[in-house]
Structure formats: C-alpha cells, structure tokens
C-alpha cells in the first residue's frame, strides 16, 4: 500500500513537473518529436529497402538454356553437374513445351504466333531455372553453369542485379547508421535539455534533500518525467508513421516504380514501427533525465 502510494505520488509529481515547467518540457518534447520523425523515416526507408532486397533476391533466377540437340541422358548429366555447384539453392527443369504453353497463356499475341509452331520449328529451348542461396554469389554460379557442356546460354540480368543489390545494401546500412546516430544524438540533446530543466529546479532538489528525501525519492519523479516527455514526444511521429505511411502506400498502390519493387504492407508494419518509436522516445527521455539528475544529487 505504501509502495503504491509512493508510486502514485511519483507519477503525479512527474506530471506536475512536466506541466509546471512547460516551456522547458516543450523544448524537450519538440526535440524528441523532431528526432523521432527522422528516425521513423529512416526506419521506414531502411526496412523497405531491406524488403526490396529480399524480394529481388527471391526473384532472381539463373536461366540456363540447353542445346536443343541434347539427349535426355545429357539433360540428366547437366542436372547432376548443376546440383554439384556450391550455392545452388534449388533448380528446376523447364521443357520447351512448358515454356511455350506458359508464354501462350500469358499473352494473346504470343498465343497466335506460337500456336502453329511444332517442336522442330520452335526456337524455344529447354532450360534449367536455378536459384542461388546467396545473391552475392550469383556471378560465380552463373559462370560455372556456363561451362557445363550442353548449355548454350546463361542469363540472369547480370550487372543490373549486382548494382541494384549493392545500392540497396548501401541505403539499408546508411539508414541503420542514421537511426543509431540519431538515437545517440537525441539522448545527448534530451539529456542537455533536461539538464536545463533540472538546473532550473535545483532549488527544488535541494529542498527535497533537506527534508529527508533519499536519492531514489528525488530521482524517480524526474525519470518518470523523462518517460512522460518521451511518450509525449512520440505522439506526432507515431501519428505520422501510421497515417503517413498508409497513405503513401495507398498512393503508390503498394509498389514503387515497378511491380518488382513492392512496399511493405502498412499493417502490422506501421504499428511495429510506432512501438519502436515509442520505446526509443521513452528510453531516451528516461536516460536523459537519469543522466541529468545524477549531477545534482551530490549536495
């Protein structure tokens, strides 16, 4: 009961502290808000880029075209050789008939042209479609496949994929770096802003010490105050994340520039991001307060 009363008093004092020193609290809240907005943008960008990379990686396939003269035995031999290559995740044989029917299904134009081809006339080749375990190794795998006897051509969007992936990876790392840097900078800024708040309340802390408040008695309301500042500071970033990202997603119909680059679906992504923002806000606010009040306890 006594502990509950003390907790209740601490929370009440913390709220009082926020509102009675509103101009300084407002400075701290604004500081948290602005940084969390930038953190939100970085998280959204970083996660989407990461998502693009995964989608690209999932879609990238090496297509190995098999000589039309290759016998069934030869095709099996090729299969064995492909399976022995490192970094091959899976491979699938697609006969020229399968490819033809897929193409005919996909377009009326193809259908009208291809329906009169027989097996002899068709320029379509049998293929092996190969997926790799690590997209960075795609060059190596493609080169090895190319050397297999009976393979006439290997295609996988070489060059373009490499640069796309490395660009994505760079942006992803850059965003993550920005998030970490921003969190550190905010913690420092908050700590300084709260330090000003606390300096202006040094008298209060002095009086608390004088009437027999322990360090914990003094520190806890300030730490809760930091928590409240963090919580209040994360309101706008959370709203912007939820509504901003959802409307962005709807505006672009869930894809950026091409169907190839899909955006992450808003639910549950925006809620997860919001939770991260609130947690960052709270931790940064609490840490800032704790750091700032520590200095004033050696009276």
């Amino acid at each position: 009961m006594k502990t509950l009363r003390i907790i209740g008093r601490n929370i009440r004092d913390a709220f009082k502290g926020v509102f009675r020193n509103f101009s300084l609290s407002f400075a701290s809240i604004s500081c948290i808000t602005i940084t969390l907005i930038v953190v939100a943008i970085s998280i959204i960008l970083s996660d989407n880029v990461n998502n693009f990379t995964k989608l690209v990686e999932k879609d990238v396939t090496i297509v190995a075209f098999i000589d039309n003269d290759a016998s069934k035995e030869k095709i099996d031999e090729i299969k064995d050789e492909i399976s022995s290559i490192d970094n091959v995740e899976k491979y699938e044989f697609k006969s020229k008939q399968d490819i033809t029917s897929e193409m005919r299904d996909s377009s009326e134009v193809f259908d009208s042209i291809m329906k009169n081809w027989n097996d002899e006339e068709s320029p379509i080749q049998n293929t092996y479609q190969i997926k790799v375990t690590d997209i960075k190794e795609i060059d190596g795998v493609a080169n090895k496949v190319k050397k297999i006897d009976g393979i006439t051509l290997v295609k996988y969007g070489e060059g373009t994929i490499d640069s796309l992936i490395s660009t994505f990876e760079f942006v992803h790392k850059l965003c993550l770096g920005a998030v970490v840097a921003l969190i550190l900078v905010t913690a420092f800024l908050i700590s300084n802003t709260i330090k000003i708040t606390i300096s202006s309340r040094q008298r209060e802390i002095g009086i608390m010490r004088l009437i027999g408040a322990s360090n914990l008695n003094i520190r806890i309301p300030f730490i809760i105050e930091g928590l409240i500042l963090g919580l209040l500071g994360s309101i706008i970033p959370v709203i912007l994340t939820i509504y901003g990202y959802t409307s962005l997603y709807n505006h672009f119909n869930g894809q950026l520039f091409s169907p190839f680059i899909k955006l992450i679906k808003p639910v549950p992504f925006v809620y997860e991001t919001s939770l991260i923002l609130v947690i960052i806000g709270i931790l940064v606010g609490m840490f800032g307060s704790w750091r700032a009040v520590r200095k004033h306890l050696k009276i």
Partner: protein
C-alpha cells in the same frame, strides 16, 4: 537526556580556512539554544554539520544517536528525516501552494492522504496559517512565508529544529511573531537550535546562549543568565 554531542570537532574547508576548531558541545532534549557570534565565527558551519550539509574534518558529531560525520551522501536522508531546518530565505517551492509545500515533506514517505492532511493542517494551525493553505508563497508576506517554512520543518514531528537566522529577513515585530511560534514548538518538546544576529531577541527570550568566536565556544550561558 542528551540529543546532540560534539566531541573535538574541527572543520577545515578545502580553501584552508578552519571554521570550527576543537569544539565540544552537548545539547539536551527539549532545550532552546541560541548560537551567536560575529560574522565568520563558524555559526553556520556548526549547524550545517548538524544536518550533514558539511562533514567534520575531525572529531565526532552524534545527533539523535546517529554519527552524522560518518554518513555517506546516499544515506544523508536518514538524519534529515529526524531534523527540521528553517532558513533565512525560507526555501519554499514557489510553484506549490502553502499546503503543497508543507505536505511535500510527508508525501515523500508515502503516508496516506488523510494522515498527510491532518498533519499538515495541524502544523499550519500551530504557525497560524490555516486560512492560507491555497495561497502561493509569492502571495504571502515574509513572516508568513517563514511560518510556512517552519510548518514544513515540524510537520514530520522532528526531535530537533535547526533555525539559521529565521528572523534575518524580517522586521522586528514579524521577527517576534516567529519567535513566539518557535517557543510554542519548543514547549511541545522539540529541541531548537537557532543561529541569530538579533541580540534583542536573545536577550528577550533568555534561553541557553552559546557564543562562538573563531570557531570555538567562548561562552555558554545557561537559561536565564544571558544579559549582555
């Protein structure tokens, strides 16, 4: 019964100034003691050591059974809870009402609301400020502010009340009002140690008077014997 005992106490500041030297003193429970002396004689240092704002360089200070000099910073609250302190500049929270300023001292310890209320009202009644519980310090006169500070100092029922020039900022009449309040508190059993420059008050009240000079006790007048 003894409440305070100082044995061979010395205080030398980092600047090299020795404020108190070789001081022995004993104060009994329920006494009202004035500490007087010229500026720089060590009065403030002496009482600051009693509530452990300063640590003695040498010697021992026992207050209510606690060796104050040995308390670490984190444990200072233990002695502060047994002592009420009143200052010349009142040290009130300007953004809190009279009631909140006094209740503040009890809320920290997690007392129930009802108990806090009755104790705060009782303390404010004792200093004659019950009618102003909703006022802010800035809306009160100097004497009233000092009475709030006294109420805050005694609300917790301390055994010892330390007053550092409580009338220093007040006119003569208001100062006497404060002294009447302090006498009232003393009659209820609280030991009072008061530092002052106001010789008129000291003469009028005829309590025990300790005279300090250069950090030493030069005179110790028993109750009713001071007549400078």
């Amino acid at each position: 019964m003894e409440l305070i005992r100082l044995t061979k106490v010395r205080k030398t500041y980092k600047t090299g100034v020795t404020a108190i030297q070789d001081l022995n003193l004993s104060i009994k429970k329920g006494q009202f003691v004035f500490i007087i002396g010229s500026t720089g004689c060590g009065k403030s240092t002496l009482i600051k050591m009693l509530y452990r704002e300063e640590k003695p360089t040498a010697g021992q200070i026992i207050v209510g059974g606690i060796d104050v000099g040995k308390l670490r910073n984190g444990k200072v609250y233990k002695i502060r809870r047994k002592i009420g302190v009143v200052f010349q500049d009142f040290k009130l929270l300007p953004k809190s009402t009279v009631y909140e300023n006094v209740a503040f001292a009890l809320e920290i310890f997690g007392l129930p609301k009802d108990e806090i209320h009755s104790k705060v009202i009782k303390a404010l009644e004792l200093v004659g400020l019950k009618s102003k519980i909703k006022n802010y310090p800035a809306q009160l006169s100097g004497g009233e502010q000092q009475r709030v500070a006294i109420a805050r100092a005694i609300v917790n029922g301390p055994k010892l009340l330390i007053c550092d020039e409580p009338t220093g900022n007040l006119d003569k009449n208001t100062g006497m009002e404060i002294m009447r309040v302090l006498e009232e508190i003393n009659k209820l059993g609280t030991t009072i140690i008061m530092v002052t420059h106001d010789i008129d008050i000291v003469k009028k009240l005829q309590k025990r008077v300790i005279v300090l000079d250069s950090g030493r006790v030069v005179k110790d007048y028993a109750e009713g014997t001071y007549n400078k």
